[in-house]
Amino acid sequence: MKTFMFLAAAILATAALGNAATSATAVHIKDDAYNPATLTVHAGDIVLFVNDDDDAHTVTARDGSFDSKGLDTHQSWQHTFTKPGSYAYFCELHPFMKGTIIVKAVTQ
């Protein structure tokens, strides 16, 4: 059942690619690392976090603004970044894992 939910999330994220106002980008988790470790997106973009690792991980913002909760192997989670800024995040289960999402303002 969970597989279907995450499949649905992936399809939604893919569908969002077709929307001119937003785009979807992915961060892959493998070998206790976020790839890419720093990702730059625009306000309104959706970022899909995919756990390709053999261990569970989380995507947890240091400022508390987002938290994937536990992501098992092959699970994914997405978040829409609406406010410009720099968002540092880490894994609650492996605090030495660090990543940053840089959100740029959309220029008219």
Binding site: D54, G70, D72, E92
Partner: protein, 297 residues
Amino acid sequence: MRRGAFIDHVAWTGLGIAYTLSPAGVMTGRALAEGMSNDTIAFVQISDSHIGFHQAANPDVEATLTASVDAINALPQQPAFVVHTGDITHLSSAEQFDRAHSLLGKLRAPLIALPGEHDVLGNDFKPYLSNFKIPNATDAGWASWENGGVHFVAILNVFSFEKMGLLGNDQLAWLERDLAPLPKSRPIVVFTHVPLYALYPDWGWTTEDGSKALALLQRFDRVTVLNGHIHQVITHEEGNIRFASAAATAYPQPKPGTAAKPGPVTLPHDDLLRAIGYRTVQLATGNDARIVDRALG
């Protein structure tokens, strides 16, 4: 060097070894002949069951936890209690806690279960506390109790994920008050999930303010600190404090620094059973803790 040799033995031939942590700091291998005698307090430690994990390193963590429970129930003398030093579940879900509660409920001896970081994801203690609250615990979750002339302390170091492990000033102040009235001759046994000393900080195998707790424990003649988290048997000494990390019931992790990262190690099934299991601990008056790590295979 001696410790390194012991770890090699555990990693490659399983857990079938008994050792005593003597005052001189010498570990002595022993045969696993006798059961637990009557004139001591005896308890069992299990750890890191990760109920809900279903990867190659152990496709059936419920079966290996059940095998551990059955082996403990079959001990010739039942332990005073069984302590689980955390990571009962893999991802803190209600379903995983329900399964774990049901499987651990088959233990004949009373269960004392500490949370690991896998049990309180999102810093949410509710699913854990609704299943496994430590008897007589403070509102914050930590606890101490006396049994058989031994002072037992259950310390929680999974509150802060960014600085895992961390005890925090409230818990340290509580520990200071808890230990203050005790004579230095009182044997102390401390349970934690994450190692209390800097076992391998690069992999987060340390407690940031653990040295403050160790300073409070240093004045006692005999202190034993038993933890989980690292899924392997590693022993260590600092003054009168002896540390012993326990094997998991789920799957092993690499020895510190021998792999690019910590995480599940996949072994052939027979080797897996030799790398996981449970631990019996005996404390006799005037003697050091006798710790025996027992593998499932």
